[in-house]
Symmetry: C2
Subunit: 203 residues, 2 copies
């Protein structure tokens, strides 16, 4: 980094601390009481701030929860995270999908993630925001890893990378949302192998 | 059919007519007012029955809506529907997925299907019922079609048919739930081709 930044003022630091306290409180509270019973009042009380502080920054509890997810996805150093690239695509994808399975099975994330997905399902504006701020950047990372494999001749030249991403990550998310079967490391491996090899016999 | 059935009594016929009127009313009403504002009172008024008639048969509005979906999936002759099997697996799957795309884009189904999916996401008991009564039988039909192709040597011998079903149908449902991109006939075709051929180069 060559640009010099002015050190943040005390007021900026205090605002940032409040913002983080509010987002952490929202994330904790939705786990405990569920999304239906989550309220701005409850978040304010848990974060030790006034209700009006929250309303100054966010229009709704959905917006607060969304930013809580954004905070979780931020890297501590402000940099971009990337998917592992050891050169072995199959092993890298299995590692990533196994980590996703672990996250989806983590009780701390269960209720907040279901709430976020429900809000997206019913709210086109939030869906657009989600696509732009959370899913979009994540999708670019996934496509970046696939593109590197494609350049190495490990993936078909004419592959539509968006369809490929849907095919690798879609089944896990679906199974989790619909509670349609066990989400195990073995399932993650099987999805990766089946997506790479395809359903037809390989000759 | 060789079994003889007793003709239904007038009371049975009346009950069946009320049941169908209630389910049709619930399905219509959720399109108009959304799931959050759907109420047993509203369904009763629309169907022209008393509230207590509905409560006698269903514990909640979610249960009514679920049965409305079951009614939609029933065949008029009480038989099992099957997926098309012309011998050309790729063409058959494309036809089925294109029909699914059309259904998911139909404004009449949009709100009821989003409501059902939301309820399943948050309610493990309803998810179990859904798996048993709706998704399970549908999944068997899909696996039946794939099994027939597998026997014909068109699919890999060691293919896990559950993973295959997730890979073909998962991306569409996901894209629809997350509003994550256009749901077009071209997308349906691309999913089928990519799933069958796999992501790797085919030599």
């Amino acid at each position: 980094m060559t640009t010099q930044r002015k050190p943040p003022s005390n007021a900026t630091r205090r605002n940032e601390a409040s913002r983080r306290a509010i987002l952490a409180a929202a994330f904790e509270l939705v786990q405990e009481v569920g999304y239906a019973k989550l309220s701005i009042e409850g978040i304010a009380a848990r974060a030790g701030v006034g209700k009006q502080t929250i309303y100054r920054w966010w229009p709704s509890k959905g917006a607060v929860l969304f930013d809580a997810f954004l905070m979780l996805s931020e890297q501590p150093d402000g940099g971009e995270s990337a998917l592992p690239d050891t050169g072995d695509l199959e092993a890298d994808l299995k590692a990533v999908l196994r980590a996703t399975v672990e996250e989806l099975n983590d009780p701390r994330y269960d209720e907040p993630m279901r709430a976020l997905n429900t809000e997206i399902t019913h709210d086109p504006a939030l869906a657009a925001l989600y696509a732009e701020r959370l899913d979009g950047p994540m999708r670019e990372l996934k496509k970046g890893r696939l593109r590197s494999a494609q350049r190495a001749g490990q993936l078909a030249e004419d592959l539509d990378l968006d369809v490929a991403v849907d095919m690798i990550w879609g089944p896990l998310l679906n199974r989790w949302l619909q509670r349609a079967g066990g989400l195990t490391p073995g399932y993650a491996d099987s999805v990766v192998e089946t997506a790479l090899n395809g359903l037809r016999p390989r000759r």
